[in-house]
């Protein structure tokens, strides 16, 4: 095969590969700053977060594992709020009635807001429902937990929060 033919084949193969893999979007990970949620239209009262460790939980009323995680999150809120952790649960529900019905049924003791436009969840690039993000006092991401796997996730969340609280910035 001639060099010209080889180059042409390589070009076509590269073109097809690029087309079928699609654009890769860089999502914030551990060590990156948590994207700012100001101006993204989150519905609900956001708590004061200055100088506190954050636990941001992304959930949806249609997601069964999210529902299973709420008692654990309530326990974490109860144990860690006084120690300097603020829990913000961000729902990605488009259906406001489903969102309100879920809150009425589960009555979470922590702050809950709705990302009706799903713009913040997209900025964070949440990989699964639910996803919990532990954020240090410097507003940088310390840990990301995809999915809820019962006590295992609960223990891992508590360990990450303990580590973030014990940091000396």
């Amino acid at each position: 095969m001639s060099s010209h033919k080889q180059k042409s084949l390589l070009f076509v193969a590269g073109l097809l590969l690029a087309a079928f893999t699609g654009p890769l979007k860089a999502q914030p990970g551990v060590g990156d700053p948590l994207p700012d949620w100001g101006g993204l239209g989150l519905e609900g009262a956001l708590p004061e977060t200055g100088g506190r460790v954050l636990l941001v939980d992304f959930w949806a009323s249609w997601c069964a594992p999210c529902q299973a995680s709420f008692p654990d999150l309530a326990g974490i809120h109860r144990d860690y709020a006084a120690r300097g952790v603020t829990l913000v649960a961000i729902s990605v529900d488009r259906n406001v009635r489903a969102y309100e019905a879920f809150l009425k049924k589960h009555t979470p003791p922590f702050a809950t807001v709705r990302d009706a436009r799903q713009s913040y969840v997209e900025a964070v690039g949440v990989p699964a429902m639910p996803t919990s993000v532990v954020v240090g006092r410097d507003r940088k991401i310390r840990a990301v937990f995809s999915g809820y796997h019962g006590e295992k996730t609960g223990a891992a969340l508590r360990a990450a929060l303990d580590a973030a609280l014990n940091e000396n910035l």
Partner: protein, 79 residues
């Protein structure tokens, strides 16, 4: 030589068209927060009991096969 060039240009055009079509498919990835649509009642295979009964009857009569339709989970594909 002219025919060869024409074929080569045609092939390159075809590859470009395929790439553009393929690119359209590659950007259609369903994100985790969009999966609420998959849990909608309309997406349930057993939403119409009469249709389910008829399908079961057809499979039983024609293919000697029935049941095995149930799957666990909420359908959101969350984890």
């Amino acid at each position: 030589m002219k025919t060869f060039r024409l074929i080569r240009t045609g092939l390159a055009g075809l590859a470009l068209a395929l790439a553009l079509l393929g690119g359209g498919c590659a950007t259609q990835h369903v994100q985790s927060w969009q999966r609420g649509n998959l849990t909608d009642y309309a997406m349930r295979p057993d939403r119409d009991s009469l249709a389910t009964a008829m399908a079961e009857h057809t499979w039983f009569s024609r293919e000697a096969s029935v049941g095995g339709r149930g799957v666990g989970g909420s359908g959101c594909g969350c984890n």
